[in-house]
């Protein structure tokens, strides 16, 4: 694609921001524009995704963005993270806009908590087959998949725990991470309380307050800007047959995420790279079991083999496929994938705190269990 991420910005990541969600959004967007060497008057497009209270026009008002020619909001919550960049890149490529900012900001811990039962969500007719039956939290919805996955492939709670340990290890050396300096052991994971069996507390990502923004413009314009651009090599969305939001329980196979398979196919085809070209993987980690399934859907290992793949050490910073060097959402913050995209940009620039050597390509995925999206970022 003829587009690049040229600026990244974020607020602090906390449990109680002490300010409105709109202020967080405005601060993140302003920081991203400063990083890009641009001003609000350069912006003509804004993209966010659902389950964010900050309307594009509200953000534009706060920033003093005079005119917008492109604004959109992508559906399905966290599954939309990488799709915001896809939207922005498409807008830039088609000329619908020249500088598009993607943003996400909320008080997800001190305000409306995503981990609680969303009673209002039951108004959705799809959710009427799950919420009234007592299945009303994201953790429980993922646990239903995880239980079957364990049954079919012999994966264990420890196999899930290894993802949490890796994320927290990487977060421990990231000063921006909520869990900076607080690594965990597999024993910590195993002794953490049940949330929704087979998920333990440490399988579930935190809830965070904060905001992240990304500035997307054309590759040509990127050349005139101060930072090394992170080129959008491919960006795609994915939804699959008999798709539901978090409760796609009615397909033949409950151990897969076929919508991520759709994303994977699209990313390899459009970027022209292969799996072995991926130098860093930023995989969406709201719940550990779906990191295993993603590794399989993306083709880094065979079906049911993720547990063995993880044990090889491949996901360590010096492994073949370093995972979430910023600490992921389990370790850094839960900004619904947007902080992971920012980490991808830093890895391309070479400015990450846990920098992997010689990064040519970064793979970033968005929320799983829902219609999702993915990105390949690369150098020019």
């Amino acid at each position: 694609m003829n587009a690049a991420i040229v600026g990244i910005g974020a607020t602090d990541f906390s449990k109680d921001s002490g300010r409105s969600e709109l202020q967080l959004a405005a601060e993140a967007v302003r920081a991203a524009l400063e990083d890009a060497g641009l001003t609000p008057s350069d912006v003509d497009g804004l993209v966010s995704f659902t389950m964010d209270t900050n309307a594009e026009i509200a953000v534009a008002r706060e920033l003093g963005i005079p005119e917008l020619t492109f604004f959109s909001r992508v559906h399905y919550g966290g599954g939309a993270a990488c799709a915001t960049v896809q939207q922005a890149a498409m807008a830039v490529e088609t000329g619908a806009a020249e500088v598009v900012v993607c943003y996400r900001a909320f008080n997800e811990r001190s305000g409306h908590r995503f981990g609680q039962v969303q009673t209002a969500a039951a108004a959705n007719i799809d959710n009427s087959w799950s919420y009234p039956m007592g299945l009303g939290t994201p953790a429980a919805m993922v646990a239903m998949f995880a239980q079957r996955y364990m049954h079919e492939y012999g994966a264990t709670s420890e196999d899930f725990g290894r993802i949490a340990v890796i994320d927290r290890k990487h977060a421990a050396t990231n000063p921006h991470a909520w869990f900076h300096d607080r690594p965990i052991t597999l024993d910590d994971h195993q002794s953490s309380r049940w949330i929704a069996e087979p998920l333990r507390l440490l399988d579930c990502c935190q809830e965070s307050d904060g905001g992240v923004a990304l500035v997307v413009t054309s590759a040509q314009r990127a050349k005139d800007l101060p930072n090394e651009p992170a080129h959008v090599k491919a960006a795609t969305q994915g939804s699959s047959a008999d798709q539901f939001t978090m409760t796609s329980y009615y397909r033949d196979d409950l151990t897969r995420l076929p919508e991520m398979g759709v994303v994977a196919r699209g990313l390899w085809e459009r970027s022209g790279i292969t799996r072995s070209d991926v130098d860093v993987a930023v995989l969406y980690d709201h719940f550990t079991p779906f990191v295993l399934v993603q590794l399989e859907e993306l083709g880094f290992c065979g079906r049911g083999e993720a547990k063995d793949f993880i044990r090889t050490g491949a996901l360590e910073l010096d492994g073949d496929l370093p995972l979430n060097p910023h600490g992921g959402q389990l370790g850094e913050a839960y900004l619904h994938g947007m902080n992971g995209i920012a980490e991808g940009v830093r890895q391309i620039r070479g400015t990450a705190v846990n920098q992997v050597a010689n990064v040519g390509h970064v793979l970033v995925t968005a929320g799983t269990g829902v219609p999702t999206s993915g990105l390949v970022l690369g150098q020019a």
Binding site: G115, Q116, V117, T119, A122, A123, N124, I125, D126, N127, S128, W129, S130, Y131, P132, M133, G134, L135, G136, T137, A140, A143, M144, F145, Q147, R148, H151, R193, W194, I195, A196, E197, T247, Y249, Y250, L254
Partner: protein, 295 residues
């Protein structure tokens, strides 16, 4: 740390406390009250006290205080300080040497017989304290009692569960495409959508058959039997209308479709279950699952 056994030995060694004189002599009004309160209509207690009343005569009264050398009082204080703050009397064995007559003035002496513990009991961890009391008329022993109490630390009660009446449970949205299902549960029928064109069974339902495109959905009534395909034991957070932990099972019905519902039992993948209907109110009846023996 208080050494309870050492303190008990010290108190036991003191032997009997000084005799404590009853407030009043044995008297007919008190006998009458006691008989009335206990519903004892035996005509023989005229001028003679019922033997089981013996402890009554030396009770300290409403505002009475234990004497400082009372061994039971001393032991209670020590156990209170050690955190065993609650008390329940467990048993008393009394021996009567003769009937007591109106006008006799009793006194009582008490010694600590033994203290055993700590024991785990249904009430909590505690010590059994046994005392021995003797009632005297002058220097004649007229009755004895072995008295045992459990002095315990109340067990940590589980967090009181918030009331979760079914009526607070999240209700389904119902529309034209789904009302047949909820109408079914009200009639204790588990209905599965069946395409009026090609016969495809489908759950959750929808208005247009993804196989043949027909928009004439019908339904069949399921036998309500199936197996657990997967399940979750929900612990946190609280869910409206439910008490944690509880199980939600994804059941594959014998007809071939899957359906979610609460499951009452120890879940296992592959386990056979059957449907149960629970009426929430006139509008809503919820289906759920319970174990079913293999046949």
């Amino acid at each position: 740390m208080i050494d309870i056994e050492k303190e008990a030995a010290r108190i036991a060694e003191q032997g009997e406390c000084a005799p404590r004189l009853a407030r009043d002599p044995v008297n007919q009004p008190m006998i009458n009250n006691w008989l009335e309160a206990l519903g004892d209509e035996h005509p023989g207690y005229d001028g003679v006290a019922p033997p089981a009343m013996v402890q009554v005569w030396t009770m300290a009264g409403l505002h009475g205080q234990r004497t400082l050398d009372d061994p039971l009082g001393q032991m209670m204080t020590i156990l209170d300080e050690a955190g065993y703050t609650s008390v329940v009397a467990t048993n008393s064995d009394q021996t009567y040497h003769r009937y007591l007559e109106v006008g006799e003035h009793l006194s009582v002496t008490t010694s600590l017989e033994d203290v055993t513990g700590p024991k785990r009991t249904g009430l909590g961890e505690g010590w059994f304290v046994t005392t021995r009391s003797t009632w005297w008329v002058g220097d004649e022993a007229v009755a004895e009692m072995r008295f045992r109490v459990l002095k315990f630390k109340p067990a940590q009660k589980p967090e009181p569960r918030p009331e979760a009446p079914k009526a607070q449970a999240i209700r389904p949205s119902v529309n034209r495409d789904t009302e047949y299902f909820w109408e079914g549960t009200r009639q204790h029928e588990l209905r599965i959508q069946r395409c009026g064109g090609c016969g495809l069974l489908r759950h959750p339902p929808g208005p247009m058959c993804p196989e043949c495109g027909a928009t004439k959905p019908k339904y069949l009534v399921s036998d309500g039997n199936g197996v657990i395909y997967s399940y979750v034991v929900h612990h946190h957070p609280q869910v409206p209308g439910r008490q944690t932990p509880f199980v939600i099972a994804l059941v594959e019905l014998d007809e071939g479709v899957r359906m979610l519902g609460e499951f009452d039992g120890e879940p296992k993948i592959g386990q056979r279950v059957e449907v149960v209907f629970t009426k929430v109110d006139d509008e809503l009846t919820m289906p759920s699952w319970r174990p079913r023996a293999d046949r």
